[in-house]
């Protein structure tokens, strides 16, 4: 705990840069990754990150120094080339996007490995540390690196803010953006530019694979929580920053633990938790709402059938057998449904079976009413055969809201208190043409 406080208050000068840099890096790449995520091009980051290796090495060969800015320019140039090449291959041949990504990735990286081995055998000490561009080494980060991160974050922020509306249109609807006169090519290039920029400053700290993960996973996690672009950007940036910051803490507190991989493990855990527990889009919520729906449908079916039996003069008493003649209930399902209905006070137990309460009767009648209204609608407006309308109505009866119901009644020219229970003959036999 003391250690955590010490980390939190940035007392240790060694950790200050690392913590700040990973936090910035996570935040920026989380936000930038959102654009690629929404365009379903998340794996572009993976290819760009791998393709930067030869650029870094060529920049080193040309300049002879390991100045971070020079190497970043080299990295960005070859990253840019890789994107252009992917686009060129997909546009000019029948090779698809994913194959083009894999081709460019493997050949640029292969070329990088050749260069790296050549450099390693021809240069002495001054080349050591270049291989950090493959696996990353956050601990070796210098104040210069953190400054570079800060510059890049500021630049990305300014660019995104000033072109926000154009970017939004391009990301969500390319054709629309083109139609309203947005320079799509420019915005496309801009998104590539900020992607390349954040990867090129990040790879040395966390490595190639971890860098592409930082672009992919934060938006994936954030997407479970929101439908709005602004919130997606903010949340994704926040998740990225949080993971970067915690990752740096793990490597600070545990000797020899690498920052990059821990950042990725933490952000992945955030994504898994989001996938499971997020409201609305989370797996558990969806399972639960599906279960509730199933329960409601069973309850409604039971009540409706009981009402129908009453109307048919089969008596007010019902049990599993009498209901199952029209609506089959398996024993366990029956027990569970009956238990819930009794708890809600919709049915009552009497000595030989069950009977509807007043509320239960009106609920069941309402469902039956919706069923019949939908049948009439299908037959009159959709010209559907009388043989088919029942099955359709069996599902729709559970989903008709009072508003839709009123609208349908209006369209059919029926009184809003229309009750098909009393007017049996609303369905007419097919005429020969409908019967087809």
């Amino acid at each position: 705990m003391d250690l955590f406080l010490k980390y939190l208050t940035l007392q240790d000068p060694n950790v200050r840069y690392v913590a700040l840099a990973t936090l910035l890096l996570g935040g920026v790449s989380g936000a930038v990754g959102s654009f690629n995520f929404l365009r379903k091009k998340t794996l572009v980051g993976e290819t760009v990150a791998h393709s930067m290796l030869p650029g870094v090495l060529i920049a080193f060969l040309l300049s002879g120094v390991k100045n971070p800015y020079v190497l970043i320019i080299g990295a960005a140039t070859s990253g840019w080339l890789s994107i252009l090449l992917v686009d060129y291959i997909t546009q000019q041949s029948k090779i698809k996007g994913d194959s083009a990504l894999a081709i460019v990735l493997s050949s640029f990286f292969g070329f990088g490995i050749v260069l790296l081995t050549v450099i390693q055998s021809n240069y002495g000490g001054e080349q050591s540390g270049l291989d950090h561009y493959i696996f990353g080494n956050a601990a070796a980060m210098t104040p210069e690196d953190s400054t570079a991160f800060a510059w890049v974050s500021g630049l990305v922020l300014i660019l995104v803010l000033s072109f926000y509306h154009s970017i939004k249109s391009v990301v969500f609807n390319l054709e629309y953006a083109d139609a309203i006169g947005i320079n799509v090519k420019f915005i496309d290039g801009l998104i590539s530019f900020i992607t390349i920029l954040s990867i090129s400053v990040g790879i040395k700290a966390v490595g190639i694979v971890m860098m592409s993960a930082l672009l992919i996973i934060p938006p994936t996690a954030a997407r479970f929580w929101t439908n709005s672009l602004v919130r997606l950007l903010l949340l994704s940036g926040f998740f990225g920053a949080l993971a970067g910051w915690l990752g740096a803490f793990v490597s600070y507190s545990q000797a020899s633990m690498p920052t990059g991989p821990w950042t990725i493990v933490i952000i992945s855990l955030i994504a898994f938790v989001s996938m499971l527990f997020a409201p609305k889009r989370g797996v558990i919520y969806q399972r639960w709402s599906k279960l509730l729906l199933k329960r409601r449908i069973n309850e409604e079916n039971l009540l409706k059938t009981a009402v129908q039996n009453e109307v048919r003069g089969l008596g007010k008493l019902f049990n599993r057998r009498s209901i199952s003649q029209r609506q089959f209930f398996e024993q366990r399902l029956w027990n569970r449904t009956v238990r819930r209905l009794r708890r809600k006070g919709l049915i009552k137990k009497v000595h030989t079976g069950f009977t509807l309460s007043t509320q239960g009767r009106s609920y069941g009648a309402e469902i039956d009413r919706r069923h019949k209204i939908w049948e009439i609608y299908l037959q009159r407006r959709m010209q559907m055969s009388i043989n088919l309308v029942h099955d359709e109505a069996e599902t729709m009866e559970h989903f008709l809201t009072p508003e839709i119901e009123a609208e349908i009644l209006g369209e059919l020219g029926l009184c809003s208190r229309f009750n098909p229970l009393l007017e049996i003959h609303e369905l007419v036999p097919d005429n020969p043409i409908n019967a087809l």
Partner: protein, 282 residues
């Protein structure tokens, strides 16, 4: 003689990876090679820690199991978790790779294993691992790769009709009652085996390259699946030969050079296909 065995190794990797890459390409899953080659890392490390040796069989088992788990996870995230398909893949493989790197770092002290040696096996060492099986000086990796090639060819040709149907038109295959999921998982398992077996001897980058580049080269030249496999073999052989001499010339990594050579061949077929106007609307 060393040169010969290195080229043979390169060719063997190219031909087994290429055959599978062929199917991956047609199914638009080429990035799966990259994903699997990263994702199997924790499997290899765990297998190594359990078995305590670098013997091939446990490592292969670990990698195969991990490969299948990766596929299942991606499937689960995208269908049950409603993740975007590309994001599901990206999340799973980077997560597993990170776990692998952490395990390697944690146990690096106890074991002579590191991410470098797992991912960047060096083809240059192949001739050093000679075994005197049948009195022939054939390097051990060559035997392993020969067995792999045999298995891949068996899987490919025995299931040829199935591969053809499921790769070109999955929906149609499904409507014929073919269990497309089984074919999918078979391909994924085969790809992870091929990836692991090969990158022990040639390194991950060359496997990723050979999983896509030869197939893409052949795909630009022909539309016929049988002819594609032939061109893939030729492409692989040329890549191995040219790559070897390229590395001799510049004095750099042989695996990297073979990947570069393979790309140059791809570029050649790209230019050629553009000239012939073979751009099909497919």
């Amino acid at each position: 003689m060393d040169a010969f065995w290195i080229i043979v190794t390169g060719f063997l990797v190219a031909s087994s990876a290429g055959m599978l890459g062929n199917l991956l390409l047609l199914r638009r899953m080429s990035m799966m090679g990259d994903a699997l080659s990263h994702a199997v890392l924790p499997g290899i490390v765990i297998a190594y820690l359990i078995s305590g040796s670098r013997a091939s069989v446990p490592l292969f088992l670990g990698a195969i199991i991990m490969g299948v788990i990766t596929t299942l996870l991606i499937q689960f995230f995208s269908s049950k978790g409603k993740m975007q398909a590309d994001a599901a893949m990206g999340t799973v493989f980077t997560f597993l790779f990170a776990v692998g790197v952490i395990l390697v770092t944690k146990y690096a002290g106890q074991a002579d294993i590191d991410a470098d040696c797992v991912l960047h096996g060096e083809i240059a060492f192949v001739p050093l691992q000679t075994s005197s099986f049948l009195g022939l000086g054939v390097p051990e990796p060559v035997w392993t790769l020969l067995i792999l090639l045999g298995l891949v060819q068996l899987v490919f040709w025995v299931g040829y009709k199935g591969w053809l149907l499921t790769s070109f038109n999955g929906e149609y295959a499904k409507s014929l009652g073919i269990k497309t999921a089984i074919w999918h998982y078979t391909l994924m398992a085969a790809t992870s085996v091929a990836t692991v077996v090969s990158f022990e001897s040639v390194g991950a980058i060359l496997v990723i390259a050979f999983l896509v580049v030869p197939a893409a080269t052949a795909y630009l030249i022909t539309d016929n699946l049988k002819r594609m496999t032939l061109y893939i073999l030729v492409q692989g052989l040329l890549s191995a030969v040219f790559g070897y001499f390229l590395s001799e010339w510049v004095g750099g990594s042989i695996s990297g050079s073979m990947a570069v050579a393979s790309f140059i061949l791809f570029a050649g077929s790209f230019v050629w296909s553009k000239k012939r106007g073979l751009k099909s609307p497919l």
